[in-house]
Symmetry: C2
Subunit: 313 residues, 2 copies
């Protein structure tokens, strides 16, 4: 089936940057360790499919996230293609930044929490204490001319605390962006948010000087809301969207979190609406099918399933 | 997890009527015949969960759709609760209407096609010939004071013909609505449409005098677009949305069709955005879990899965 395409839809930007998180957010919680060679091949295939921006790995200690213990191996294999400004990697702290610096990375991301409970579970710190951890990282990265993204997780709901007030998220975002970060990624880690909530948060961020041109959205599809919420954010001026090829992902510290918005479902929506992404959908679907084979289970992406013939019984 | 709720979102109507199609569109393609008593219980549970409008069954010949062969049995068991203006049933032809009349139904629906290939496969007629079949049905139903809905299927793409031009859909819709139908339901039977396409179609219908107040949207989630497309339609003034509890559904004559938009995922989106639906989400989820047990497989609804604890391993 060909995708019906119409002229650019009202209220959407002409072009969207997909920030592909499959190799990092998508894989970090896989129980079976994926070989570094597979991760390298995954990134290479994503590049070949036209994904311009790819978060490659995380410099988190291997004892916290064993799956990301091969960050150096993956990036050394990627060579020049793994270190540019469109190849950020997560750095949880100064030690992580030092590892990224040693490899010559030009872009990094820090990962904060909007809620106390998740800050404790994920960072072993309070919301207030996380700033002390991130500030030297951001300052040093910016001083060296690096591009820095600030993630804020649990921006809509928290499995322990329930709905998260917009003001609380904006406070955290303001502190992190005030350190000099280039981009803010607002995460609905457990996927409970809805379109009006997205609008209110973007509005509140804008009112505090964090306009949509500096904001990316990061939605998980646990409650089936990820694409609808993304389209709402795009109409509010956001032009950077986090997604994971094949809908990979989840979060071990947030039991109700499932996969990220599938890059394929997003590309289908945007291409149909006349929004440019630069992605070759067939190549991307083939990549996710290949990755699903490596992981030993089918992709949860609707588009991947729709475009992939079921196995002959 | 509680659903975060915010004030009514910009551009959405204050209230939406969910036209529940689970008992008809959701079940009609189940291979194993579901007992009439289960169908009756399904409708009763949906009523109890607050669904105001429920399409109960189809008066299609049993040799075409064996699953719907018990229409009389289901409606007789439902009694007064099965015949009101908010309990439409599908009538494919005059014979179907006579069966509905004999039971005292006050609302019926006809089911047309926007494409030649699907008209042939589903109706054994051309697009032109379908009008001759539907006109006496609609005229007779309207003359007797009944409420009549006109479905148009394959409004966005067709598995054999590819993308369907907006003008072709509007022509079919205009012919059917010109017969005196009260409501038009535009169906993306194979789920390929995107938000801009939805907007263009609604705009084109409006330009021909079929305004959004008379239009319902009917999306299947094959490519993950159903909820995003629904929200786009609501911003364009549509206030009636077809959905199936638990995401049931599919179409045997259109191989790439999967389930309808899940009512739960829709209710989550609307409740979060401050739009009233009258539905008790917990009761609805319990209904879909019960129905999934009857069918012997898990519900594809994201919300049902998220709110239902996985079985202990």
């Amino acid at each position: 089936m060909r995708l019906p395409q119409v002229e650019a839809a009202t209220g959407l930007p002409p072009e969207v940057t997909i920030y592909e998180v499959g190799p990092r957010d998508g894989l970090q919680n896989e129980k079976a360790v994926v070989p570094a060679s597979v991760k390298v091949e995954f990134v290479r295939r994503l590049v070949a499919a036209g994904l311009s921006t790819i978060e490659t790995t995380s410099f988190v200690p291997a004892r916290w996230v064993p799956q990301m213990g091969d960050a150096e191996e993956v990036l050394e294999a990627l060579g020049a293609d793994g270190v540019g400004r469109a190849r950020p990697a997560l750095v949880p702290n100064l030690r992580g930044l030092e590892r990224a610096e040693a490899l010559g990375l030009q872009a990094v991301a820090v990962f904060g929490s909007a809620t106390e409970t998740f800050a404790q579970k994920n960072l072993n710190r309070s919301v207030g204490e996380q700033y002390a951890m991130f500030e030297p990282v951001v300052t040093r990265a910016k001083d060296a001319g690096r591009w820095v993204r600030a993630y804020v997780s649990m921006c809509f709901g928290d499995p322990w605390e329930g709905p998260v007030p917009v003001g609380q998220v904006v406070d955290v975002a303001e502190r992190l962006m005030g350190m000099g970060c280039d981009q803010l990624s607002i995460g609905d880690t457990i996927g409970v948010g809805t379109t009006g909530h997205v609008h209110r948060l973007l509005e509140a961020l804008d009112a505090r000087g964090i306009g949509p041109e500096r904001v990316a959205v990061h939605f998980h599809d646990t409650y089936g809301q990820a694409l609808a919420n993304t389209m709402a954010a795009l109409r509010d001026g956001v032009t950077v969207v986090d997604a994971a090829a094949g809908g990979l992902g989840g979060c071990p510290y947030a039991k109700s979190a499932t996969g990220n918005l599938a890059t394929e479902d997003l590309v289908w929506a945007l291409t149909g609406a006349g929004v440019r992404t630069g992605v070759d959908l067939d190549a991307l679907v083939a990549t996710s099918v290949w990755m699903a084979q490596q992981l030993g289970r089918p992709s949860p992406s609707n588009v991947v399933r729709a475009l992939t013939p079921p196995p002959t019984p």
